[in-house]
């Protein structure tokens, strides 16, 4: 009996907290809408996706591969990113460009974003600054798992 009472008290407390937030926000929001400047903004939500928050410069978003001036990837297929990746989601296959002196380039470069944990280790490991996570793309959902596998072409874009 006493236990059940405690239960109801907690529910009422919850309702009080939620309604307090609601009414305080409501109040300041109305003041803001009416053009009265207050320190507090009122409503904290934004109208995503029409409205977007600015992404911090250090934020780690979808990877991209950097290109050289001639459009070829800057990556030299050293496989350090694939070595360091804790999710084992990078796969690199190297090839040799017969024309340029000793150029090793990735003939395949695949990141399985579905497995990636966005730790950013790959970016730190890269000796060529060839991979970055600064595209600002954060909506990475796909209709199938294969949609989440990014290959060289997709990553270079």
């Amino acid at each position: 009996m006493i236990k059940a009472l405690g239960y109801f008290i907690e529910i009422i407390r919850g309702i009080v907290i939620t309604s307090r937030h609601f009414f305080v926000n409501f109040f300041f929001r109305i003041l803001n809408v009416l053009g009265i400047k207050t320190k507090r903004k009122g409503a904290v939500t934004i109208q995503y996706p029409e409205q977007r928050k600015e992404i911090a410069t250090r934020h780690r978003s979808l990877h991209r591969l950097m290109a050289r001036e001639d459009g070829k990837p800057r990556c030299v297929a050293c496989m350090l990113c694939a070595t360091v990746c804790p999710s084992e989601c990078i796969y690199v296959e190297a090839a040799e460009d017969p024309e340029l002196e000793m150029q090793k380039y990735p003939s395949k470069f695949i990141i399985d974003i579905g497995r990636c944990c966005f730790c950013g280790f790959c970016v730190e490991a890269c000796p060529e600054d060839a991979i970055r996570m600064d595209t600002g793309k954060i909506e990475l959902a796909g209709y199938s798992r294969d949609d989440l596998v990014y290959d060289l072409d997709k990553l270079l874009k």
């Binding site: 989601c89 190297a94 090839a95 002196e101």
Partner: protein, 518 residues
């Protein structure tokens, strides 16, 4: 014996050896680049400097002999400082392109820089551009920028192969290693150069850019491509299951064994590894007419055992014929000997091996299989297959390996096989023969099973599996032990043969050669 002190600990060492060797025996590693156990000291890299009490300058550990009462310091401040200095000069013209260097991960220069270097270079001059992709041999590429002129390669070609294709040209900062006028390094041991080059100056086209050395797993094994039995390390990548990339062998390195191959292996063994991954037979295959049995190990082996049992019951074991090969291990040959010769008195035992080819006077032998000597010592006479003999009276034919197709045309083989009631093939690779047999059982390779081999000199060498057998394949010894148990002349004997070691113990008991060589 003399008494010396290394880093203030005393050691008893043999007189006349070098400080480097004494330290190595004492378990103290001294950094070195040009020194290699296979050659006399060269003293060109200066990496092995140590301090010796009473001597004003630092000395080269690789070429200084020990003296009684000598006090050597390998870690003193002066030594560490000197190593730094040596490294700084070695790296003055070094391109430091480790990210694309195939040696990275195995590179001594890289390792020593990690341990003793880690300095900012004081050289402000731009590094000189040199040839980075000189083709110096059929599968060797030389990068002059990375070369530290340790002369290991030159000495190898002078002292091991006696072919002397490489030489040192020019002097001072322009010194370089190169071939003489259009005569490339083209001998059967050239691959060793890529392995002994302490840096990434010589790389081979076979491994070049394919993967990184630290991603590879390594396993000790024995090269099965000739009867020398060189000790090798099979380096493979276990595969990326998430990307459907299977296991793959990337290179073979030689392992040191002074009694067998010294430090080297030939190019045939080094580069002939593609058979491990390519074209493998992964499943049991059963011909349509035999569809009553399912392609499982139990059913297929039982089927064979029943056939043997039947013929044995009718006292017609002379109608069984075997075609063996000398890729089978001692243990497998012993089981075959035991089952078919001792238990069943089968007379038609033939051998079909890869055709012999040229050997050389370094390591390569003419035989292209690893265990011919083992088969001989087992008491199996190595008679070549005669198709006519097979055709006349055989009702059950067991063929191990696919080398009969090296000796006869497919149509001839088919003609003979069509006359035989039941024929079974034990094969590791898929090929034309498969369709002629009633049951084809996939077998494991030397790299995938355990056992021992007897090399050309009669040395018995054990090997263990480096990786799992491909697909459903199993080692032949396992199937043979199963067969022995199934057809049941002496099931309890075969019952206990659960490992190659157990079989090897029985071999030693029964065959004097293996007992004595143990």
């Amino acid at each position: 014996m003399v008494k010396i002190f290394i880093d203030e600990k005393s050691f008893e060492v043999e007189d006349g050896i070098t400080v480097f060797k004494a330290a190595k025996e004492a378990g103290i590693a001294i950094p070195h680049l040009c020194y290699h156990d296979a050659f006399p000291p060269e003293g060109s890299c200066r990496m092995c400097l140590v301090e010796i009490e009473g001597l004003p300058k630092l000395e080269l550990a690789c070429s200084t002999q020990v003296r009684d009462g000598m006090k050597v310091f390998t870690k003193s401040e002066r030594v560490v400082e000197a190593r730094k200095g040596v490294l700084e000069f070695l790296l003055a013209e070094h391109p430091l392109d480790c990210p694309i260097c195939d040696k990275a991960g195995d590179c001594k220069l890289q390792d020593y820089y990690e341990t003793y270097g880690l300095f900012e270079s004081q050289f402000r001059e731009v590094k000189e551009k040199r040839e980075k992709k000189a083709k110096i041999g059929k599968n060797l590429i030389h990068d002059e920028e990375r070369c530290i002129i340790c002369k290991r390669c030159v000495r190898f070609l002078k002292e091991v192969t006696h072919t002397q294709e490489l030489g040192i040209f020019e002097r001072g900062i322009h010194t370089s290693v190169n071939i003489y006028e259009l005569l490339p390094v083209d001998n059967n041991y050239s691959g060793n150069l890529a392995q002994i080059c302490p840096v990434g100056a010589i790389t081979d086209t076979d491994f070049r850019f394919k993967t990184r050395s630290w991603l590879l797993k390594k396993g000790k094994s024995i090269c099965p491509l000739c009867s020398r039995g060189c000790n090798i390390s099979i380096e493979y990548h276990p595969g990326f299951p998430h990307f459907q990339v299977p296991k793959k062998v990337f290179r073979i390195y030689s392992l040191e064994n002074p009694d067998v191959n010294g430090f080297w292996i030939c190019d045939l063994g080094r580069y002939g590894y593609s058979y491990i991954d390519e074209n493998r037979l992964d499943r049991i295959m059963i011909k349509k007419e035999e569809q009553k049995i399912e392609p499982t190990w139990e059913q297929s082996l039982q089927f064979i055992a029943e056939k043997i049992k039947g013929l044995n019951f009718l006292k017609k074991t002379s109608q069984i014929a075997l075609v063996l090969n000398t890729w089978l291990s001692n243990e497998e040959l012993f089981l075959i000997h035991k089952i078919f010769k001792s238990d069943l008195n089968v007379e038609s035992i033939f051998f079909a091996d890869r055709p012999q080819s040229e050997g050389d006077d370094i390591l390569l032998t003419p035989e292209r299989s690893p265990n011919r000597r083992g088969a001989q010592e087992m008491g199996l006479s190595i008679q070549p297959v005669k198709l006519e003999t097979l055709a006349t009276k055989t009702r059950l034919l067991l063929v191990f390996g696919s080398s009969i197709q090296d000796q006869f045309s497919s149509s001839d083989i088919k003609k003979v096989l069509d006359k035989i009631e039941t024929k079974i093939l034990f094969a590791s690779h898929s090929n034309d023969l498969i369709s002629f047999f009633d049951i084809v059982l996939p077998t494991a390779l030397i790299a995938e099973k355990g056992g021992s081999l007897t090399n050309v000199e009669g040395r018995i060498q054990k090997f263990s599996p480096v990786f799992e057998p491909s697909g459903d394949s199993l080692p032949e010894w396992m199937m043979l032990a199963d067969l022995g148990r199934e057809f049941g002349i002496n099931p309890s004997f075969y019952e206990q043969l659960k490992t190659p070691e157990a079989i090897s113990i029985e071999t030693e008991k029964e065959i004097p050669f293996f007992r004595e060589k143990k």
